[in-house]
């Protein structure tokens, strides 16, 4: 199990598990990260196979699930819905499960170098495209190159830019990107690709599961459509954008053949109110996610089963630190101390929320360090404002998107609490698309930050100085240094040590109030087996089956 080729850190990881310094979940996570297969890692951890479902899945039948769909290039996908539609046909190199553990998928394994700057990706043998052609390292290299090209327009570029690309400004002032090294994406043999990174990066396997990272056939159009050639368990037989997608099993699938004879995704658009009605009357058997206000109605339906999971999805109310008065750390801290995060979570999300700690690392993240509780302190907040030169309080505007609806509630709760420390803020509710046109420029705004499997991922995207999504303009060399250090540590215990000062620093000095974490919840008909709620709302229909 721990052969010569294993990562040198593995033995230490095993002893930490034995000494209870890390829990099994963290052991599994880190061991798989270091290139051990999930089943081998489970054996090391003393569990021979995952807990078995009580019922044996049956083949046959068809189900309908609510999910929006579009006919677009997966590289420019911008929604979980669209990725769920393509996910059944187009697959990913890795897969982060509902348990937040990332495992190889179209890869057989991966192996990082000790300095985490070279990642060897071993492509699974025996994987075939629907048309019968072998899936090889050429397909992998082509896809990665395509996703990193400016013309493609993929959000993968922003994600991997820091360690894969160099940017340069042309004569016309426009920024263009190119691979940082000609050998950055290296084909070793037909089933091996090596990524050579500009800087160390631990989240490569997680990035490979970013929703735009679906593998498409290099020899055909990448547009998602009926008959598209993928490696996945289902093939698309019918696609009407904005209406529905119909799938049938891929008879040549390389893995376990799906149980369902037919799968259909029905698109209800933005009509969130229509969705529970369809579920209740049995027109569909599952929905993407349930809104907090729909919970009581759906809970009362005897034929529906609730599925939920806690996530690292937490919007951040952030301030532009290059604008007055938010350039003053005392003002930022005062604004945080004026808010009771637990009360905000309760008001905005009810049972679906829990309090954030203003540092955007969630309890579900493996490297989460539990700091002493951050509590509301009106007197200290007032004193800090006075020290900063604002004894009479402040006035400014907070921008927030119309959807999801609870974001407006978060802002309303915070704004009400601020009144106690003399801060009078007005709320500007903006159409979601309009907000994201200007999101990095707004003085104060509440921005959605989706769940990501590692704690370092969101804070790296949002607060590293000069990062493209650094919407607050936060620029703190000490934070950057600590973050880079954390990102190069594979050991969860060691990384957690670095996370302590990072979390403290963001809590005290950081540019945002991050008041809530939300649970993701959904309902499926009790007749559907094999479902588990994924923190990112991903649907894997290959696991679903219909009870008699």
């Amino acid at each position: 199990m721990s052969g010569d080729r294993d990562h040198p850190y593995l033995p230490r990881l095993r002893s930490q598990l034995a000494d209870n310094k890390i829990d099994r979940r963290e052991f599994l996570r880190t061991a798989t990260l270091l290139g051990v297969s999930a089943s081998a890692a489970m054996m090391m951890a003393g569990q021979t196979s995952p807990a078995r479902a009580q019922e044996t899945p049956k083949a046959g039948g068809s189900i309908r699930i609510e999910n929006k769909n579009a006919s677009a290039d997966p590289a420019v996908m911008t929604s979980i819905d669209s990725s769920n539609a393509t996910r059944q046909t187009l697959e990913y190199l890795t897969e982060t499960g509902a348990d937040n553990i990332t495992r190889p998928y179209l890869l057989e394994s991966w192996k990082p170098s000790e300095d985490l700057r070279s990642w060897t990706l071993n492509v699974r043998k025996g994987v075939k495209w629907q048309d019968g052609r072998d899936f090889t390292s050429d397909d992998v290299a082509w896809n990665i190159k395509r996703l990193l090209a400016d013309e493609t327009g993929s959000s993968v570029l922003g994600l991997m830019k820091g360690y894969m690309l160099n940017d340069s400004k042309g004569a016309d002032g426009k920024t263009t990107h190119a691979l940082w090294d000609a050998n950055a994406i290296e084909k070793v043999d037909d089933h091996t690709v090596r990524l050579n990174l500009k800087v160390a990066q631990i989240a490569v396997p997680e990035h490979l599961f970013h929703y735009s990272f679906a593998m498409v056939d290099p020899t055909a159009s990448p547009i998602f459509r009926a008959g598209i050639n993928g490696t996945g368990p289902f093939r698309v037989v019918e696609l009407s954008p904005g209406r529905n997608v119909v799938y049938e099993p891929n008879k040549n699938y390389w893995g376990q053949r799906p149980y369902l004879d037919k799968l259909e995704f029905v698109d209800y658009g933005d009509e969130r109110a229509a969705v529970p009605a369809a579920l209740i009357s049995g027109q569909i058997q599952g929905i993407l996610n349930a809104e907090p206000q729909q919970m009581p109605l759906l809970r009362n339906q005897p034929h529906l089963q609730l599925y939920e999971v806690l996530t690292g999805d937490g919007p951040a109310l952030r301030f532009r630190v290059d604008l007055k008065p938010f350039d003053n750390p005392k003002v930022r801290l005062a604004l945080k101390l004026g808010v009771d995060n637990a009360a905000v979570a309760k008001l905005a999300l009810g049972d679906m929320g829990s309090a954030g700690e203003n540092h955007q690392v969630a309890p579900v993240h493996p490297e989460y360090f539990k700091l002493p509780a951050f509590t509301q302190d009106i007197a200290r907040a007032k004193q800090l404002l006075a020290e900063a030169g604002f004894p009479d309080g402040l006035q400014f505007e907070v921008a927030v998107t119309k959807t999801p609806a609870y974001h407006v509630l978060v802002v309303q709760a915070i704004v009400e609490m601020w009144k106690q420390i003399g801060v009078n803020a007005t709320i500007n509710v903006m159409p979601t698309s309009a907000y994201y046109d200007v999101w990095t420029k707004l003085p104060v705004g509440l921005t959605s930050w989706a769940h990501r499997p590692l704690g370092v991922m969101n804070i790296g995207l949002a607060y590293r100085s000069g990062a493209p999504w650094n919407e607050s303009g936060y620029n703190n060399p000490e934070f950057d240094r600590l973050l880079t250090q954390a990102e190069s540590v594979a050991d969860p215990v060691e990384r957690r040590k670095v996370m302590e000062p990072i979390e403290k620093l963001l809590q005290e000095d950081g540019p945002m109030i991050q008041a809530t974490w939300r649970k993701q919840a959904t309902f499926y008909a009790k007749s559907v087996g094999g479902f588990s709620m994924h923190p990112s709302q991903y649907v894997f229909a290959r696991n679903l089956w219909l009870k008699a």
Binding site: R64, D73, V76, G153, G158
Partner: protein, 337 residues
């Protein structure tokens, strides 16, 4: 008659040009850009700018309007269909033909293909709803109007008033709660996808009911007012004195004359039913033009919004033309100058 029709058609053209340009001006100020919508919030600014340029969104407003008109009448080919751009847009009809409404950027398909299904669905919903609205509102309106001031009139008028004042979304939610949540008699949504449990017809029941409730009461009140007014005309008294029964007077004289004002309103309902039932279609997720318009508007899908609005305009103009014609048929004394 011919001169009149020609004049109305030319007025229609002017209206179309002016309103389509106004549409462009309005959409110019709509928040967000299409490129941002397509690429999402996490695309870098340079990626968005690149797509803006490809889509020709950086051109000036009048220039874009002229392009759009030239493409529409088939003078110019649509630059978005150029494969060199890599937008993967193509039109099976070729790149230059009359009636080319361009590409829907939300669906990445020619607008004509996107619109065909919803238009047929909305026409179906409208036709079924009209089949209930017309007889129901005429019956109620005539009964109330012919018996103006009686207890029956007050009962019918009050009933119509109450039904009319319930907004569509409230009626929708009430019906959903009763017939879907409690009784489980009907499907909760109408995506027009048949399943073993729910036929297409069963999916039409609730949307048609909501539309009928929203419209029939209002039309009935117009009919009633016009009927009651006609009932006070001297010729009705003359007919009564001549010895005709009340039902003879109503059916032979009053209905024909009393129908002129309600005709316009009824035809306007037709216009609203095909293209304007945004609320009802949204509540029931009915795949019609109203819901599509809402989606397109939120996305900023210019070509689609423009086309749907143009169709609505054309419908309005045509139904009003029909209304004018029917005036003449109902009452030859009407002289339109």
């Amino acid at each position: 008659m011919l001169a009149f029709a020609l004049r109305r058609v030319s007025q229609l053209l002017v209206t179309a040009i002016v309103s389509s340009f106004l549409l462009f001006v309005v959409t110019e100020f709509s928040p967000g850009t299409v490129s941002r919508q397509i690429l999402g919030p996490y695309a870098l600014p340079n990626q968005v700018a690149l797509l803006d340029q490809k889509l020709g969104l950086s051109q000036s407003l009048p220039q874009r309007y002229l392009n759009w008109v030239s493409i529409l009448v088939g003078l110019k080919s649509n630059p978005l269909g150029d494969p060199a751009l890599g937008l993967n847009l193509s039109d099976p009809r070729g790149d230059r033909y009359f009636g080319n409404f361009g590409y829907s950027l939300m669906f990445r398909q020619p607008v004509r293909d996107v619109l065909a299904g919803p238009l047929a669905n909305s026409a179906l919903l409208g036709a079924v709803a009209m089949a209930f609205i017309v007889p129901l509102s005429l019956l109620i309106g005539i009964m109330a109007g012919a018996n103006a001031g009686t207890r029956l009139d007050r009962l019918l008028s009050l009933g119509s008033l109450i039904v009319t004042s319930i907004p569509e979304y409230a009626a929708g939610v009430i019906l959903l709660t009763v017939f879907v949540s409690y009784l489980n008699w009907l499907p909760g949504t109408s995506p027009l996808l048949a399943s073993e449990q729910w036929s297409i017809a069963s999916q039409l029941v609730l949307p048609v009911t909501v539309l009928t409730l929203a419209s029939a009461g209002y039309v009935a009140r117009i009919v009633r007012a016009s009927m009651a007014d006609t009932m006070t005309k001297p010729y009705v008294r003359t007919a009564l004195l001549k010895g005709l029964t009340k039902s003879q007077i109503v059916t032979r004289h009053v209905i024909r004359n009393g129908m002129i004002p309600p005709m316009t309103v009824l035809l306007l309902q037709l216009n609203w039913l095909v293209g304007g039932v945004v609320v009802c279609e949204s509540i029931f997720a009915y795949p019609g033009v109203g819901r599509l318009l809402l989606q397109a508007g939120l996305f900023g899908d210019l070509a689609l919004v423009q086309t749907i609005t143009l169709i609505s305009l054309a419908m309005a103009a045509i139904t009003q033309l029909l209304a004018d014609m029917s005036y003449m048929a109902l009452n030859p004394r009407v002289r339109l100058t």
